[in-house]
Symmetry: C2
Subunit: 223 residues, 2 copies
């Protein structure tokens, strides 16, 4: 169990608490029974089938949102990091089982808020709750848009098009044609739903043809 105070300044910067005064935030953390938990590398934070009644906020580390297909193949839905939330949509849809796993990629620190507890206590009446729900609405909106973009990435017909779409979208997000990506090759292949070796081959073809340049996780879009 880590101490809340140590991370207070970072917690304050999370979109979840945007627009709250220090007093409101402190009250909220108490009301929500906030606690910090440390997860080891490759530990499961959330499993398919779990009922989620907590808000999970990543303070530090990286987490994969994954799904196993019936036939055992791994699908990476997204990679989350600092200040991202886990499985927020399953908090909003009460009593719906999680359809995803959340698995740490490295040692990860998570702030956990008991959403049920607070909503039952204050009946959504307090100011901080009003701010919170507004923030959650906006966070979910962003997540939604990200999911649509992921659908665009994986919906291209060839490996080449998937790569170019993914890299273009990353470049736009990072506001630069030169950027690092978060995935290694195997994870990128599982994210784009293609075979790793075929993808590697396509990457070096794209480089030979002068469309991109890359070194490990650093990529550059040319032309």
């Amino acid at each position: 169990m880590e101490r809340l105070e140590k991370y207070y300044n970072q917690i304050k910067t999370s979109p979840v608490f945007y627009g709250m005064s220090d007093d409101e935030l402190k009250g909220l953390l108490e009301c929500f029974n906030a606690r910090i938990r440390k997860y080891e590398k490759e530990e499961m934070i959330i499993r398919q089938g779990d009922i989620i009644s907590n808000i999970y906020l990543i303070l530090d580390g990286e987490v994969n949102i994954e799904k196993d297909s019936y036939w055992g193949r791994r699908i990476i839905i997204s990679r989350l990091g600092q200040n991202d939330n886990l499985a927020l949509s399953f908090v909003g849809s009460k009593n719906i089982e999680s359809s995803i796993d959340a698995i740490t990629v490295e040692d990860t620190l998570v702030l956990i808020l008991s959403y049920e507890k607070c909503t039952s206590m204050c009946q959504n009446a307090c100011t901080r709750h009003k701010i919170l729900i507004n923030n959650l609405f906006q966070i979910l909106s962003k997540e939604n848009i990200e999911l649509i973009q992921k659908i665009e990435n994986v919906s291209q017909k060839s490996i080449r098009d998937k790569l170019l779409t993914y890299l273009s979208n990353e470049a736009r997000k990072k506001h630069s044609n030169s950027f690092d990506i978060q995935f290694n090759r195997q994870d990128l292949a599982d994210y784009l739903n293609v075979d790793r070796s075929a993808m590697s081959f396509e990457l070096s073809k794209l480089q030979k043809e002068g469309f991109i340049k890359y070194d490990k996780n650093h990529f550059e879009l040319l032309s």
Copy 2:
């Protein structure tokens, strides 16, 4: 311009207004400058690049959420119908351009609420707004979960697996192994990101092998 009163009873049943009294709903419709608009078949309600500041609620009809890839291929992200919302996530993420088109599949009736107008007027202070934002949060949660399911559908590696995953998910939604699907063959192919003829071929193979039975848009899962 259609008259609101005519559709009032249906509007009342929408998840957007769940938990509101008649008075609150009436006040809200006024405050939000509610109006009804009719769209013809294959008309665009929302275009990529639009800034969305209205809540769109489908009263009657069907709408495709689509995206054109760089190379002109059509991607169907989802098919929406009665009581569904359009592009809600772009209302929540202010000043973000829509990354999708919303195109009617048939003549469609839409309730339009000016979200900006109300939030600026009441500063989110009125009871009905509090109920509303709670409802929107839940609606977005559901949309989010649907998108994850769509990702599962299209992330299968073969056409066969995509079809079986899609059909299983539909069966679960409809609580029956015998059900109608909303897509025709071309639209289903654009939804699953596969070639229509290859998909047709795979469907009849699945039928011959005894896994499914189908006639037009009616499907049955066997075994």
